[in-house]
């Protein structure tokens, strides 16, 4: 039994500032709509955090079952904000398992913003120095400023990097967190891994866990929009690729009635509204807390991507040269979003999904 005061301080700095206020009344665990009855969360995480029990917390998959609906923080009689504490713990786990750890640790703190923007900016400057793209006169055609092929190559490179990092991180996470918890929690439903996977995907599609939110019920709608907006944008991007490589379209300055364009706009609209709504709502309740830096970095980047994307389109249709500049900003933000995805909150994509597959396999869900 070793207490790690440094670890407690780390969690406090990552957003769990008030964790020492908890006095273990268990109201949070009772009210949490997603917590199973056996060894529920977030109560135990609160006292483990108070005692600085680093090993236990870094090996705890329960922190990913939480969707931060914040009912716990709303009901907490002491204002200990368990919702924020679990968010801090998630950030801390990402730091621990994502490879290499030092990058994750860097991006978890505001100082990391320097690197977050410096890398894409420097890369952009290198590109400009190397390829010297020219802003076309008399027309707004993005592809003539920076060729789409360059974007594709950059995309593949970043994508490959992200996939490698993700595989290594997931491997670590799976071994330390998931496998460590099978004998300990195992009881209840023993389905197959595949079955658990399908159920998880269905849950994600319907956002059924988000529906359980009490206080922060907006999250169901906001996240739904962000998630599906992003996917639709991805589909639109695939549409673009089909246009270029299958249908031989030369230029992607598509008119507004183009089906792919329409899809893209729907996606952009959903992403924009969803992230704006999340931003506004997060700031609206002091008792629950506004969330930590780790969360905001991702959310603001998403919002930035959406708004710059919409700006480019509006400026292009208006014939304004500012579209090109907006494009540069947009690219920088998109780079940061994707390249650093495994180190930011974006990583929840994998960690939470895996945690739910695990939970369904060991029967660690709320019994309906």
């Amino acid at each position: 039994m070793e207490v790690d005061v440094k670890f407690t301080k780390e969690i406090q700095e990552l957003g769990g500032r008030d964790l020492k206020k908890c006095f273990q009344c268990a109201t949070c665990s009772v009210i949490c709509p997603l917590s199973p009855e056996d060894r529920p969360f977030p109560r135990k995480e609160m006292i483990w955090a108070q005692w600085g029990l680093k090993e236990k917390l870094l090996n705890d998959p329960d922190v990913w079952l939480c969707h931060q609906c914040n009912d716990c923080s709303d009901y907490c009689p002491r204002g200990a904000k368990p919702g924020e504490v679990l968010a801090a713990l998630r950030a801390r786990q990402v730091q621990e398992y994502t490879f290499p750890s030092f990058l994750a640790k860097l991006f978890a703190k505001p100082i990391g913003l320097i690197v977050y923007f410096a890398v894409p900016i420097i890369l952009t400057l290198i590109y400009f120095a190397t390829f010297n793209p020219q802003i076309p006169e008399h027309e707004i055609v993005i592809g003539k400023f920076i060729p789409h092929t360059h974007i594709e190559y950059a995309g593949f490179a970043v994508g490959a990097w992200v996939i490698i990092v993700a595989v290594i991180s997931v491997w670590r996470y799976w071994n330390y967190v998931i496998l460590n918890n099978i004998p300990r929690y195992g009881e209840g439903a023993a389905r197959s891994f595949f079955d658990g996977l399908i159920q998880t995907i269905v849950d994600i599609i319907y956002h059924s866990k988000f529906k359980e939110c009490g206080k922060a019920s907006y999250r169901y709608y906001a996240h739904f929009m962000i998630f599906w907006g992003f996917i639709i944008l991805g589909i639109a991007t695939i549409g673009d690729i089909i246009y270029i490589y299958v249908l031989g379209v030369k230029e992607l300055a598509l008119p507004i009635w183009d089906p792919v364009k329409i899809l893209g706009n729907i996606g952009a609209f959903l992403l924009f509204v969803g992230s704006a709504w999340a931003i506004v709502q997060r700031l609206s309740d002091e008792k629950i807390g506004a969330g930590n830096y780790f969360d905001w970095l991702f959310l603001l980047t998403l919002f930035g991507v959406a708004i710059t994307g919409i700006t480019i389109e509006l400026l292009r249709y208006a014939g304004n040269i500012g579209a090109y500049y907006a494009y540069i900003v947009h690219l920088i933000l998109v780079f940061a979003l994707i390249a650093f995805a495994p180190y930011t909150k974006f990583a929840h994509l994998l960690y939470r999904t895996l945690a739910y597959i695990w939970a369904k396999n060991v029967g660690r869900e709320v019994k309906k």
Binding site: M1, K21, L53
Partner: protein
């Protein structure tokens, strides 16, 4: 009384009775012309009553518990006949109710006739107050006494004032934000006390004896061999607590391992500047606090000492401050009551203080550290903490615990008379009693009943006196602070103020010959006709307040200013030589005999007209009856309620008188007795219960059924059940048949 007037009010529904018949009772049976008024408590009605020249006034109207500001007249005896709550509000208006009203009037007139005007017992009394104990409670008490304009004597057995708080390193914060410790308040109090001209301080002093009675307590103290004497009017006992003997906690390692200490020992270490391991003198970094050590445990102290959680939080901060170490607090509950919750919240914020609920399973030494194994924790697993130092949060015992306090608890006859005492003190041998008698005392009262304040549960002083906190079983002596219950310094200060207010009330009242709770202001004290005393010692033993001393022969020596006027002595006396001027054997017996019992040989329908008497104590039972009436509940009109001060004042002669008058059944309603007693005179209802058990023998000799006399405990909140209790009793006795002695 020389002259008795009768007033009948017909307001509040009383006019539903046949007033003419009522008037006839007064006119023809007692020769008194009654005055009938429709609204006697009005300004006009009250004028008439006030201007009456008679010295005995019977007011047949509402309950004696109401309109006292209108009908209590100085210098006159006022008998309130309860026709409102007692008749019209609690019964259907029929022939039975009419007869009931007439009987009540008869009883009232007779009682007024037999009453006398009392003279107060006036003596040269002192209004000075003695405070025993110079800790925070005693110091506060002495200051409050002086600030109120009285003189205080402060007696402390140690050479220095300040008590336990002066031994503390720091004191708990008393103001927001509750995270800054303070200097113990006692230092300021000591300065104020020693510089106050109205307080005389005797340190290194013990009390050799206190004799006398409130207002005239003659105190002899011994200061370093010198005797000092003075007289006081009241006493505040603030001698505080002593720690539970930790040597009994071997299972927690105390005595076995040097590095297991008590919270007191840690406080001392902190005061000396460093927290070290006693075994090797090194600094203690990891300190484990074990709460409820030897407390909330039937094998040690069965109660909680209320401050140890606060103390451990405070001492955990010492560990952080002095050793920069880690403090682990293992608790059963975190009891930081009231505003102390804010302090708990502040202490929780410290990064080096770790709290969990848990049960300590074992403590042993390993590699020079003390290992504490804890199960049932909040962390979801058992803990094994390696500590440099283990601090046991041991508890408080009253300084009265273990002293020979009251003779009746260990009487020479080897029988302990009262349930609430024998439930706690198993009978000891005479030798053990003699040993106990030799242990030094606090007050050394020269009372026949024993040298100390009586104790109750757990050895704390009996200031249980339900509705009347601070009152003890010794009038004029008030317990405050930890001697009566474990409490923190802030509570001690408040407690001291409360006790001082009571002490001041006492000295002022006894100066006018009046008594305090529950019959505050009563000047009528019991008179003893000692020529017929047979020295049976019942009154001296049964008086709950030790008001009666004895001479060598056993003759009672009354101390009227110790008396609370309950009348238990007069209930006890088999020779019936004790009476009050306004409340006497003759008065009640005459009232019983004034009840008209229909004689079956003469009166038609007399077989149906059973007659019952209910003795109802004025503290709980009588108010319950009033409240039942206020709520519209009805009970049998065959019962005649006689209010008594306490069931203990019901003399067995009343039972004999009642039965020989032809009363069919007698019910005694009074407060609960036993360990959690509610009897406002401590043991009155228990005594009544015991006496009525003895009466069963007499009943059997008279070939009467034992069910005719019953004692039932009620509390004021049972007003909804009382009518049912009475009716059940009436029905049971009716089944037995009429009293065969009717008409004899």
């Amino acid at each position: 009384m020389n002259k008795v007037s009768v007033y009948i009010c017909t307001g509040c529904g009383i006019d539903k009775l046949d007033i003419e018949r009522l008037k006839k009772v007064s006119q023809e049976e007692y020769g008194i012309e009654p005055v009938v008024h429709p609204h006697l408590c009005s300004k006009e009605g009250a004028e008439i009553v006030r201007n009456d020249e008679a010295d005995g006034i019977v007011i047949a109207a509402c309950s004696p518990r109401v309109k006292t500001n209108v009908f209590d007249i100085e210098g006159k005896y006022v008998e309130r006949v309860n026709l409102r709550e007692g008749v019209v509000w609690s019964h259907d208006i029929d022939e039975h109710a009419q007869e009931l009203a007439e009987d009540y009037l008869r009883m009232g007139i007779v009682k007024a006739q037999k009453a006398q005007i009392p003279e107060p017992y006036l003596q040269e009394t002192s209004k000075d107050i003695l405070v025993v104990g110079g800790g925070v409670t005693g110091l506060t008490a002495a200051l409050e006494i002086a600030k109120a304009g009285y003189k205080a004597y402060l007696v402390e057995k140690e050479p220095n004032l300040g008590g336990w708080l002066a031994k503390n390193y720091k004191a708990l914060p008393t103001a927001p934000p509750y995270n800054r410790f303070e200097e113990p308040i006692v230092y300021r109090l000591i300065e104020e006390v020693t510089s106050n001209g109205n307080i005389t301080v005797y340190t290194s002093s013990t009390i050799e004896s206190i004799s006398g009675q409130p207002g005239m307590f003659d105190v002899t103290i011994n200061q370093n061999g010198n005797q000092v004497q003075f007289r006081v009017g009241a006493i505040v006992v603030a001698t505080g607590w002593k720690p539970y003997d930790a040597k009994k906690l071997e299972n927690l390692g105390y005595g076995k391992y040097k590095d297991v200490i008590t919270n007191l020992e840690l406080e001392q270490m902190a005061k000396e500047g460093k927290i070290i391991r006693p075994s090797d003198g090194k600094e203690a970094k990891d300190v484990v606090f074990i709460q409820c050590a030897g407390q909330r445990d039937p094998n040690h102290l069965p109660y909680c000492s209320s401050v140890c959680c606060l103390v451990s939080l405070k001492q955990a901060k010492y560990v952080r401050e002095l050793s920069n170490g880690h403090a682990f607090i293992i608790y059963k509950d975190m009891r930081t009551v009231g505003i102390w919750e804010e302090f708990y919240k502040e202490m929780q914020q410290d990064e080096g203080i770790f709290l969990t609920k848990g049960e300590v399973t074992s403590i042993y030494e390993e590699d020079r550290k003390i290992v504490v194994e804890v199960t049932d924790t909040l962390l979801g697993e058992d803990l094994k903490i390696k500590a440099d130092l283990v601090v046991l949060a041991t508890g408080m015992e009253s300084t009265l615990k273990g002293l020979y306090t009251v003779k009746e608890e260990f009487p020479d006859e080897k029988t302990v008379p009262y349930k609430h005492i024998y439930e706690l003190h198993p009978i000891k041998s005479e030798e053990e009693v003699e040993e106990l008698k030799k242990i030094g005392h606090i007050l050394n009262l020269k009372y026949r009943q024993g040298p100390e304040l009586p104790t109750l549960r757990y050895g704390f002083s009996d200031s249980n006196y339900i509705c009347f906190p601070y009152e003890s079983r010794r009038l004029g002596i008030y317990a405050a602070g930890c001697v009566r219950a474990p409490m923190d310094a802030a509570a001690c200060i408040e407690d001291a103020r409360g006790a001082v207010l009571k002490a001041i009330q006492a000295v002022e009242l006894v100066a006018e010959g009046k008594t305090t709770f529950p019959r505050t202001g009563d000047i009528d004290y019991p008179q003893f006709f000692l020529q017929r005393c047979t020295q049976c010692k019942r009154c001296t033993e049964e008086c709950p307040f030790g008001a009666l001393d004895e001479d060598e022969k056993g003759t009672p020596q009354p101390n009227p200013l110790r008396c609370r006027r309950c009348g238990i002595c007069f209930g006890a006396c088999p020779e019936r030589i004790i009476s009050f001027r306004q409340y006497s054997i003759d008065q009640i017996s005459s009232a019983i005999r004034a009840i008209h019992v229909p004689d079956p040989s003469w009166e038609e329908g007399a077989e149906e007209k059973f007659r019952f008497i209910v003795f109802a104590c004025e503290n709980d039972a009588y108010p319950a009856l009033d409240m039942a009436a206020l709520n519209g509940l009805k009970y049998s009109p065959l019962v005649r309620v006689i209010p008594v001060r306490c069931l203990g004042s019901v003399n067995t002669v009343f039972i004999a008188d009642a039965l020989s008058s032809g009363i069919d059944g007698i019910l005694l309603l009074g407060c609960k007795f036993g360990q959690d007693y509610q009897c406002h005179f401590i043991r009155g209802s228990e005594l009544a219960n015991r006496r009525m058990e003895n009466v069963q023998e007499t009943l059997q000799r008279l070939v009467l059924e034992s069910e005719r006399v019953k004692v039932i405990e009620v509390s004021i909140t049972d007003w909804d059940k009382v009518p049912k209790i009475i009716n059940e009793f009436v029905d049971n006795v009716k089944q037995l048949g009429a009293n065969p002695y009717k008409g004899f």
